[in-house]
């Protein structure tokens, strides 16, 4: 348990240095706030077009689908604020060979690189997501039940760990193919499909988004949980699957980092 306390301390130190950095650029708060408002609006725009002349799509009404978009905005904030800044810098470290300095430190390398950088101002996106949630429940004319909220928060934790694991897997690729500046764009391009309820997709695409790249778990299930439509079995399997995914990502990371050759270039 002493190890655990030490890592918590380290985590706080890393987070604080990011916070101090963010406080130096206070104007970014306004800029990021404006971007988030705009971003939330654009995330919702395609929905308006689709629901322009119909009531439901694949069993989802407009406010219900809006809820899925809300989760999409929320998770996007998590990726942008907490996951991608750190892991983008790993790719840079690998290319330049400066990962040596991280590996030399007496703490777990994966922990150090994953907590290297946060962008606290992205909290503004979370506010955008909450507005979307509020609006869709107002349209639905109901409010979420307590157990639904708890289930969806549990799924949020699972989704964050899933996203993080996916990022670790993507970054591990960089150990094999060195020049990979644009990995982040691949990642966001795939994640973009999560803004739609997974029921919209059919056949193979749906299988991929449910089991291989589990986008369904990240946005569709939490929305269903809030609506009180999620089955307990799905919830349990999601948690189990999430844990399995995280374990795989850790294994792949350990194997890939063994291939790191330093030297730079």
């Amino acid at each position: 348990m002493r190890g655990m306390g030490r890592y918590l301390g380290l985590f706080w130190i890393q987070l604080r240095s990011s916070l101090l950095l963010a406080l130096q650029y206070r104007w970014d708060f306004l800029v990021d706030g404006a971007i988030s408002a705009f971003y939330a609006a654009t995330a919702v725009a395609p929905l308006l077009v689709i629901f322009h002349d119909r009531e439901t799509i694949s069993g989802w009404t407009a406010p219900e689908a809006l809820l899925v978009s809300g989760w999409f905005i929320l998770l996007d904030a998590v990726i942008d604020g907490a996951i991608s800044p750190s892991l983008t810098s790993v790719v840079d470290h690998i290319r330049k060979g400066t990962l040596d300095f991280v590996l030399l430190k007496p703490a777990d390398a994966q922990f150090l690189v994953s907590t290297a950088r946060f962008q606290p101002w992205r909290v503004t996106n979370v506010a955008g997501a909450l507005v979307v949630f509020g609006y869709s429940f107002q349209q639905l004319g109901s409010s979420p039940r307590l157990e639904g909220v708890i289930a969806s928060l549990g799924l949020l934790a699972v989704s964050v760990s899933l996203l993080y694991s996916l990022w670790i897997l993507t970054v591990s690729v960089a150990f094999y193919v060195v020049k990979m500046d644009n990995l982040i764009y691949l990642f966001t391009a795939i994640f973009d499909a999560a803004r739609w309820p997974v029921d919209v997709f059919k056949g193979f695409v749906r299988f991929v988004f449910t089991f291989i790249i589990p986008l369904a778990l990240m946005t569709t299930y939490p929305a269903q949980a809030l609506l009180g439509k999620l089955e307990l079995r799905t919830l349990l399997f999601s948690v189990l699957g999430g844990a399995l995914f995280a374990a795989c990502a850790r294994l792949v990371w350990l194997r890939s980092i063994a291939r790191y050759t330093s030297a730079g270039g």
Binding site: F38, T42, I50, K179
Partner: protein
Amino acid sequence: MSLRATSRALPAMVKVAFAEAVAYRAEMFVWMLATTMPLVMLALWRAVAAEAPVGRFGPAEFTTYFLSMFIVRQLTGSWVAWELNHEVRSGALSQRLLRPVSPIASYAVENLAALPFRALVAVPIGAVALFVVGRSTLASDGRLWVVWAASMLGGWLITFLVNVGIGALSLYMESSLKFMDIYLTMFMVFSGYLVPVELFPPLVRGAVEWLPFRFQVGLPVELMTGAHPLPEGIRLLAIQWGWVLALSATVAALWRNGLRRYAAYGG
């Protein structure tokens, strides 16, 4: 940096750029995967249209539209904004400035040399699309295809110029990538990349028809899928090339003024 020097150096530049594209093929492959978004949208819109057509779009029309979008996006892509940001910050731009050819020309050549590589993926898919969906949903007028070719060049030029313009902003500030993020978000929504422009509500549509986004990829796709008769196509092409001219002038000014501020640190 005369035009003659540039044209004399051109064959060598193309050769080098092509070799580079082949050397970093993994990176190219990631770019290709990252632009498969139209295929996801294809799955989505097909599901929507299966219940009832949206405007004039049934499942077949959506398939042609988004497959065409996939091809057009592959062939008109540009990523110079990221490169410029990186090279300004690391000082690598100095090496380009030493050469007797304008850096903008060398960026353009690098960009264009990567296209045959992309075509390797995009063209077979286009052929399959033609075969499966049938010619009926593609433009049949040969003259429209001439307009289409001009609109492809115009679309690439707009994308490229916006990239250089936003990239050149990094000469004025620390990093201009945030602007690129905003631009890309707007591009996604207003270019026809996610939603065909003609499906927008009339109010939004009026604005979209004059913004540059639609002319980057939307217009070529619309021309391919026969959304416009010839006169309308030519009118839109004229607006597109108006954007090309306006952007060229703006970007040239931004670049020239920015270079004076370039400090060439690092290296």
